[in-house]
């Protein structure tokens, strides 16, 4: 018996009336774990029952502890007929299974019913006692920590990153045709909820086992998904990155946490990038399709029909200054190191990482986006214990990704994710990531410390451009791209544009602000069945990918930017159409060449007058100019200034001088080639092309005061204040017009997305200046003529006054010791200059025209000096208005009243005389109006209020909350809910139904976090929102799956209280936390 689970049912409140006659309820509770069930006594005739039960004890295997949820069912006792269920609570006890997380789950949980939604709340306490189990062959993986966060969690340090872990489990779906035959929908939906809860527990346990096998202790970037395959079953699959994490002591100074946004650069350089043969010639933007993706029709024995895949290593690259010379500098030892990593990675089946941002020095070079898609026909899963087919499918796709990455000269894939889109029996499997070269140090076993031994071999790579340098061989490029020397270091080659799926590395030098860029596309398709359908879809896919990329590229140029981060392309399949949505955050990387404009060329003079063309050209040029202004893109002028920049660090002088001379050579070349580079030509050869160009110009810029991005951090903004508003929005459009064209559909789809954004801006206007971060759009085609778009994002306020202090500022506040250790510059130098630099720091970084080399030097200086002058930097944050702190203050009228009323009631039990005086003092305190004479009476109340107020729980899809520090991760939140109704009209139609369901899901997430002792959810995401309706029958149903990390965070301004907060947090009284 390796574990003992204990549960205690304390009380209920706000229960629904179950007995019409008495307007009351006779409630009791069943507590179930595995096959054991306990019951409480019936608490007769009360809507606020107090059970105060004994401790129910379950003695179970830790394997079960991981798989099973604790099931709590609240029922209404009925003497004559069957007891009526009021609702249920599922509690995932996984967070109790590792020592560092929560030690008790205690709090009010909403009682949830799939038909009625939330029906009151129940107060439960759960504890686990684990016994040590030394069995080597154990099936459980208790103790492995899970994080949804796609970076190294704030209060941990990664000593080793082991790599990719994946697992999937399959089962029959208890109810797949629910909508047509609603017999006992509640029963089947509850079965479904329970099953999925079980399956995700099992999945997590299995992944944990793999992590233990690899020698890790945690999974970061854990991504779990459901495939509701309908008749063929239910698949739950997950991927993640296994790591060995070290906890940093939370009491120590803020500097000690390894933040994922380091401000120093990778200390090593990629000088001798491996050159691999790019045997595929993938899709290149703007070029006439040279796309020869392997579309092979394989009818395999497993009855999977069409296997299609397209690889899109989207043009990005780097170069080394001169392949040969770099090699010389590195020396043989480096080469050896490189080879070691290489092999270390190659030994792994899949060198994939689900992380999107990395510790300093981890990411060396980025190759480009790699993606693969495959169309499959679903078949009944015959043997749930052997999910080979699905495994094989994913295996195939991953192999393909791996080979794409090789083609780009990269040995790893970062920012990796997988997804599916299912319509009837057709399923599109997609995977994408960013090909990259990683620093060997993290890969090698036994080399846990960063920045000591390897130090001397390292060539100081330019901190803010290294990752842009191409990893592949210039002479043997995998696809056509224009290479130039890096605009920063002038030593290595960079591509003209860079697309990635990761977050912008915080050390990257950017000009201006970033912005959300979306490409949207609809393609009609004939209705078909089976293999014909699958073939039709796979034939359409390459064209969609191509068009999405063209759109992205055009929009990027239109905004005068040269790189995309966080690129996510979703292709969703419906019965008669395919929807494609690509979202990314555009940014101007100063290391990359300035994007040329867009030139319009007419091909058929007969159709279009040259005036027309020139008017379009003018509009485009104007738009580019406006956008440059809007996003404040004023890249540093490199020309002469670059030469004169003084570099105070002697060690580097020689090298820098040389690079200067190189760059000046280069400059003349660049100027010459400018004309060529500029030639990004859009040809107008038919009306379609005109439409395309018009649609380009439709995208309205966000209104003044708003910025938007879909990544973790907003390029160009870092001085967040504490205003945070996470939201979910769902919009479904019904297409009434039967004979729509592709063009018409595109317009509708584009408008839908644009209007959604406009709605957000309007709704959140009170937060200006504000940025919508992590805008995550999901599209679906739930029925033939419906398009559904689901968006989750967070709006965060920032301090407008400080926006000029860009990139260097943010890492400073979260500055890491390790980062500082890695500084190549002597610390004394910084210390000396710091005092004088504090005041001028911002000025220095503002001057965007500073030569690049100087700029980076200055940023390092600022990093130091700002570290010293931290308190001055912090104060503007503290002064900001904040709802969280408002809640904390609690001394509002309401709280005061409540508190007092409470005291008084207690007082009145003792002596009436005393009560009287108390009452008097209260009244005089509470209101200014004097009491009327002779009116000080006792406060006697026959009703009691539940005195406690509700903990404020903040939610964000990001890995951090501005102005706060995470001191503890309490465990993963992974919840699945189904809600159904048979009285759709009465519940306010589909919108009313979904609105209350989403609000309920939020409420349940918050309640679980609060019960764990937390006050926030980070890396929150809504991974599934499947909505189905049948208005004729007045019915609807919705499934929602959400996940995130429950955390305790405290305000950055009161570090000292951290220890005490952790304790109060445990008892659930964290409303007094200085947090958020």
């Amino acid at each position: 018996m390796p574990g003992k689970l204990k549960a205690k049912i304390v009380a209920g409140r706000h229960l629904p009336v179950m007995d019409r006659a008495s307007d009351l309820t006779d409630a009791f509770v069943e507590v179930k774990f595995g096959n054991t069930t306990f019951k409480t006594d019936v608490c007769p005739k009360s809507l606020n029952p107090q059970w105060n039960s004994e401790w129910f004890k379950f003695e179970v295997d830790d394997e079960d502890l991981q798989d099973e949820p604790l099931q709590i069912t609240v029922l209404d006792h009925d003497t004559y007929s069957a007891n009526d269920a009021i609702g249920k609570v599922y509690i995932d006890i996984d967070p109790l299974l590792y020592s560092e997380a929560a030690s008790v789950i205690s709090g009010w949980f909403p009682i949830y019913d799939t038909i009625h939604g939330i029906r009151g709340e129940i107060n439960v306490i759960v504890k686990v006692e684990l016994f040590n189990d030394l069995n080597r062959f154990r099936q459980s993986s208790c103790g492995v920590k899970f994080f949804c966060t796609t970076c190294i969690p704030q209060c941990y340090r990664a000593t080793l990153v082991h790599g990719f872990v994946e697992e999937l489990v399959v089962n029959e779906d208890p109810e797949y045709q629910w909508i047509d035959r609603i017999r006992t929908p509640r029963a089947s939906n509850e079965a479904r909820q329970r099953l999925i809860s079980l399956m995700s527990g099992e999945l997590q346990r299995k992944i944990g086992l793999k992590v233990l096998e690899m020698g890790g202790n945690a999974v970061v970037g854990y991504l779990q998904c459901f495939d509701l395959e309908g008749e063929s079953g239910l698949v739950v699959r997950a991927i993640g990155t296994a790591c060995t994490l070290d906890k940093l002591s939370s009491g120590s100074a803020p500097n000690t946490n390894t933040h994922m946004h380091p401000n120093t650069a990778p200390a090593s350089n990629a000088c001798n990038s491996p050159s691999k043969d790019g045997k595929e010639s993938p899709l290149a933007h703007g070029c006439r399709s040279t796309h020869n993706s392997p579309v092979h029709s394989v009818c395999s024995s497993q009855r999977l029909s069409q296997n299609f895949s397209v690889s899109v290593p989207t043009l990005i690259f780097t170069g080394m200054g001169s392949g040969g010379s770099a090699g010389k500098e590195a020396g043989p030892l480096r080469t050896l190191l490189r080879q070691q990593t290489q092999t270390a990675l190659e030994q792994r089946e899949f060198p994939f990482f689900t992380l999107t941002s990395f510790p300093p020095g981890f990411l060396l070079h980025v190759g480009g986006v790699v993606s693969a898609r495959s169309v499959k026909l679903l078949d009944r899963i015959h043997n749930p214990d052997e999910p080979e087919t699905r495994d094989a499918w994913w295996e195939e796709i991953r192999q393909e990704i791996k080979s794409h990455a090789r083609a780009l000269g990269c040995h790893a894939v970062v920012g990796y994710s997988e997804s599916t889109s299912i319509c009837e029996e057709v399923c599109i499997l997609s995977a994408s990531g960013t090909a990259a070269i990683l620093n060997p140090r993290y890969m090698r076993e036994g080399c846990l410390d960063i920045g000591c031994t390897d130090h001397r071999f390292e060539e100081p790579s330019p901190p803010n451009c290294g990752f842009c340098h191409i990893p592949y061989d210039e002479l043997n490029m995998p696809f056509p791209a224009q290479l130039t020397y890096c605009y920063h270091c002038r030593r290595q080659k960079v591509p003209d544009v860079l697309f990635t799926t990761i977050d912008l590395p915080s050390e990257a030098a950017v000009a201006g602000k970033g912005c959300l860029i979306q490409a949207r596309l609809c393609r009609l398709k004939k209705k078909a069945q089976g293999e014909a359908n699958a073939t039709a879809i796979s034939n359409l896919l390459p064209f969609m990918e191509y068009e999405l990329h063209t759109q992205l590229m055009n929009k990027l140029k239109l905004r005068s930017m040269n790189a995309l981060f966080g690129l996510h392309i979703q292709i969703s399949v419906g019965e008669n159409m395919l929807l494609g949505l690509a979202s990314a955050t555009g940014v101007y990387l100063t290391a990359l060449p300035a994007p040329g404009g867009i030139q319009i060329a007419g091909k058929t003079p007969g159709d279009l007058s040259s005036e027309h063309i020139s008017s379009i050209q003018k509009r485009i040029n104007d738009t580019i100019a406006v956008n440059k202004e809007l996003y404040q893109i004023n890249p540093p002028e490199l020309a002469e200034e670059g030469v004169g920049s003084p570099i105070p660090e002697p060690r580097h002088r020689s090298r820098l001088f040389r690079s200067h001379s190189e760059s000046s050579d280069e400059l003349s070349e660049l100027d010459l080639s400018h004309g060529k580079k500029d030639a990004f030509v859009l040809e107008i050869d038919d009306t379609d092309a005109v439409e395309d160009i018009h649609s380009l110009l439709i995208d309205a810029p966000p209104p003044t005061g708003f910025y938007s991005c879909n990544t973790e951090n907003m390029p160009g903004i870092s001085n967040w204040t504490s205003g945070v508003q996470m939201f979910t929005s769902v919009r479904v459009l019904r297409l009434s017009n039967a004979n729509l064209t592709n063009q018409g559909l595109n317009k509708i789809f584009t408008d839908l997305c644009e209007n959604l954004l406009k709605s957000f801006y309007f709704k959140l206007r009170s937060m200006i200046p504000c940025c919508l971060c992590h805008l995550n759009f999901t599209v679906a085609v739930p029925e033939e003529e419906l398009i559904q778009v689901t968006v989750t994002a967070v709006a965060m306020t920032y301090d407008k006054e400080q926006t000029q202090e860009k990139t260097a500022e943010k890492p400073v506040n979260k500055g890491s010791l390790e980062a500082e250790e890695q500084l190549q510059f002597p610390l004394e130098l910084c210390a000396d200059s710091s005092s004088s630099n504090i005041q001028t720091a911002s000025k220095i970084s503002v001057s965007l025209f500073t030569p690049a080399a100087k700029l980076c030097q200055n940023q390092l200086l600022i990093a130091r000096s700002a570290g010293v002058g931290e308190s001055t930097n912090m104060s503007p944050r503290a002064a900001s208005v904040d709802y969280g702190s408002f809640a904390d203050r609690c001394s509002t009228w309401l709280e005061l009243l409540r508190l007092k009323a409470h005291t008084i009631r207690r007082g009145s039990v003792k002596t009436s005389r005393r009560t009287q005086s108390l009452a008097h003092s209260v009244s005089s305190l509470e209101r200014c109006s004097p009491l009327q004479e002779g009116r000080s009476r006792s406060l006697r109340s026959s009703r009691s209020f539940g005195g406690s107020s509700v903990t404020v729980v903040k939610m964000t899809p990001l890995s951090f909350l501005p102005g706060t520090r995470i001191i503890k991760y309490l465990g993963i939140i992974n919840m699945f809910f189904i809600r159904e109704t048979t009285s759709l009209r009465e519940e306010g139609g589909v919108s009313g139904f979904l609105h209350s369901f989403i609000a309920e899901v939020f409420a349940m997430v918050r309640a679980h976090v609060a019960a764990l002792g937390g006050n926030a959810v980070v890396s929150y995401s809504m991974k599934e929102c499947v909505f189905m309706e049948n208005p004729n029958k007045n019915q609807a149903q919705c499934l929602i799956n959400v996940s995130g990390d429950a955390v305790i965070c405290i305000s950055e301004t009161d570090q000292e209280s951290s220890a005490s907060t952790a304790n109060t947090g445990q008892t659930g009284g964290s409303e007094t936390d200085g947090a958020t």
Partner: protein, 357 residues
Amino acid sequence: MSVELDVFVGNTTIMDEEVYQLWLDGYTVNDAVKVRMEGGVMDECEASKDVLLSDTMDQYRTFQMCERLLHSPAKLANQLLFQIPPHRQIMLIERYYAFDDTFVREVLGKKLSKGTKKDLDDISTKTSVTLKSCRRQFDNFKRVFKVVEELKGPLVENIRQHFLLSDKLARDYAAIVFFANNRFETGKRKLQYLSFQDFAFCAGQLISNWTVGAVDNMVEDMDVDLDKEFLQELKELKILITDKDLLDQHKSLVCTALRGKTKVFIEMEGSFKNLSRGLINIAAKLTNTKDVRDFFIDLVEKFIEPCRSDRWSAADMKLYLTHYTNSAHILDTFKHQVVWDRYMGVVKSCIFKMYHD
């Protein structure tokens, strides 16, 4: 092409105070959109009509879902469904329970029954408050009435605790409950000139001085009923008008005090007996529920109107009533000083408040 479904849910519930007011005022979504457009909110964020419509619908839905909680405001603070900052909760409650003075004036003193509810459309037309808003306000009155009806202890405190209202609003509700319970007549033509605030003030006076709770705050009784014993004792005051000597003595004392201090002295002297009879008859009749209901109309008919027709200024009236009250203390044979003070204290301040145009 049509929007089938459109929702926006924030972790912290987003509520626009302007839209909330429009919702409370009973505007339909479309009317609310029109009002907002005219208000110029569109210019703020380059919004279109569609955006405004979508936002308004979202907010209306949110308010509808919150409405259930607003019916028992204590629940709002410890419910889990909506995360609403405390200051917003207070705003929501305060505004939900706010009412139009014109509307409340119409139902003041009426029985809060189904019958009255049926008349709400008439009241709506008359006061140009939308029917929806009328219903909300009426239901609020009724809800508060029902809750405090069963409670012991001071009325205002009870309302404040159970509905978490501000002091001012709690007092107004106490007045409404008190009037509804005693069914005071306020609708007669002669009383039309009085505002709700006039009555609310009078109610406050009556509650503090004439109810059971006024004398003994430990008695477990309701604040809404008048002190029966006191009403009985009021009959004793009749001696002031039935005893000829006492009446004359009283008059001469008052007249001596007033002489030379007012322009309407002649009128005061002339109407003394009438006015005194009026006031004391009102007191003596208060044991009948029917006469309690007519308390305010009686005050107007028996005292305020005669004074006004004699063109007394407010100051004159105050002067007169002060001396009228105080002089009674000097009367040797008048033994009911305590009752007299308790009665006249309230009557005096009520008349002060009611004596205007």
